[in-house]
Amino acid sequence: GAGVSQTPSNKVTEKGKYVELRCDPISGHTALYWYRQSLGQGPEFLIYFQGTGAADDSGLPNDRFFAVRPEGSVSTLKIQRTERGDSAVYLCASSQGMRETQYFGPGTRLLVL
């Protein structure tokens, strides 16, 4: 079956601009996670959803970052007033339940100039 998909695969933007990153989870998976990965590092947790609600957003670095999952399926990560330090690979994962195995998408590579 189809895995987790993320769009766009690459995004180049200018400092100060607004960006949206999209994640389509595996069909039927109720839990959805966002992580951020810098070069040479492991993924770092940002936020996760159980259904439509954010169950834990403790990893969001500041209030420029926001994520939604209005219908309990697709999720969008929104970054306002982007900074060069936001440049990274943003990974999405989904699982059947909160403590089940997480399956990752290919990531969106964000470059802020």
Binding site: F45, G59, A93, M98, F104
Partner: protein, 108 residues
Amino acid sequence: EDQVTQSPEALRLQEGESSSLNCSYTVSGLRGLFWYRQDPGKGPEFLFTLYSAGEEKEKERLKATLTKKESFLHITAPKPEDSATYLCAVQANGALTFGSGTRLQVQP
């Protein structure tokens, strides 16, 4: 705070030369320890989940083991296609806490 430390950072092996990767962790209430493989430019690919000390799992040339403080990923007779970054992660609640990974290169 949950912490995961992986060693070595990088490992170069000859084809057929077996070795082990280490993952040391501290976590409050371990729900699971996960191993993933990540190829350049791709997302992590799930390999194993271990839940309790003494548990072992195998898949082809890979075998993962777990103690109360660390996990090992043993690679037996590796092939060049095993070259990748291997990530270890722990889960206490929902989110995974990852180590920085071990970059494995297997030369023919």
